[in-house]
């Protein structure tokens, strides 16, 4: 018998378009870039604040411009998607066992959502006070 295994080519840049699950994965990964850019924007805001009221005013004008608001909204959607997908996989990365039994994944995911809600509430209260 003659052996001549055939290796099928894989698109180095297009592979992720071949299946919906790969596209969802790429969206999850790219969400980090938007969140990173948003953090960069906040750091620039701090820098502008240190340069005086006029500099900060112009920064605020840029952030509140239609382009700035659009960027904020897109980042918000990606941040929610990022958190959603991350919370969903926490039972895989951090499975818990109590008294010899596996803790149901829904409880682990729920605990993360609860932690997120409590943290958000505390930050809101802290900002309000």
């Amino acid at each position: 018998m003659i052996r001549g295994p055939y290796v099928r080519p894989v698109g180095r840049y297009s592979w992720w378009l071949s299946q919906p699950r790969y596209i969802r994965y790429m969206l999850r990964e790219v969400s980090a870039a938007f969140i990173g850019a948003y953090i960069l924007m906040l750091i620039v805001g701090l820098l502008r604040l240190s340069q005086g009221p006029a500099a900060y005013e112009s920064y605020l004008t840029a952030v509140l411009s239609s382009a700035g608001v659009a960027f904020g909204l897109i980042t918000f959607v990606f941040a929610v998607y990022h958190s959603l997908t991350w919370f969903r996989v926490t039972p895989k990365a951090m499975p818990l066992r109590m008294r010899g039994k596996a803790v149901p994944p829904a409880i682990i995911v729920g605990a993360h959502w609860l932690g997120w809600a409590v943290a958000s509430l505390l930050i809101l209260l802290w900002v309000a006070v």
Binding site: I2, R3, G4, P5, Y6, V7, R8, V10, R12, W15, W16, S18, Q19, R21, Y22, Y25, E29, V89, P91, K92, A93, M94, P95, R97, G100, K101, A102
Partner: protein
Amino acid sequence: MRETIHQLEVLRYDPETDTAPHFQTYAVTCQEDWVVLDAINYVKENLDRTLSYRWSCHMAVCGSCGMVVNGEPVLSCHAFVRDYPEKIRVEPLANFPIERDLVVAIDDFVEKLTSVKPYIISAEERPVESGENLQSPEQLAVFKQYADCINCLLCYSACPQYALNDSFIGPAALALAHRYNLDSRDEGRSARADVVASNPGIWECSFVGACSEVCPKDVDPAAAIQQTKIASTVDYFMRFLMPWRKQ
């Protein structure tokens, strides 16, 4: 019993005559309770005896009949024809070289599986006189899920990381390494770490999670790999914090 006619598009490749694979279509009258493997067996027995493919148990245990059906890696004995449209496209598992028709060369996987030492390792040799190496049901439950792997390689077919990166150890082998690392009778974690905790091991995994989605046995290799990443990170920092601690 209800019968339906399906167009079975099968990827064919003969290393002796072909330079590249091509599709060949067979019209197959299928019974309602047929799985894709039954349709392929019908082709082999009645239409084309040259078709090559692997199968054995016909009950999702042996892991031989993995194929890509309409773009999704499945066990062909576990995929009912009635759940597919009229056209059913059958290809060999992706990410492996095609040996002939639906048969792929799995040498790379076997080599990688061997490299993670998928067996119980004891620090000292246990003489037969010492009796059974006992384990409680609770200790078994910790790793049972990862021991259900049947090496069908659907996870490798679904993994884009393995598709792009030849050196990646891959989902099933890493899940099996995790299975032995979690076993209360095993003391081989550090012996496996060279391969498992290396770059081509767990760190090449970017957690696409496709492996777990296609796994017919709910082994969840993606979970095994993420847990190994956490354990290996803890090991790394413990080496600095508590250098006297045994690995």
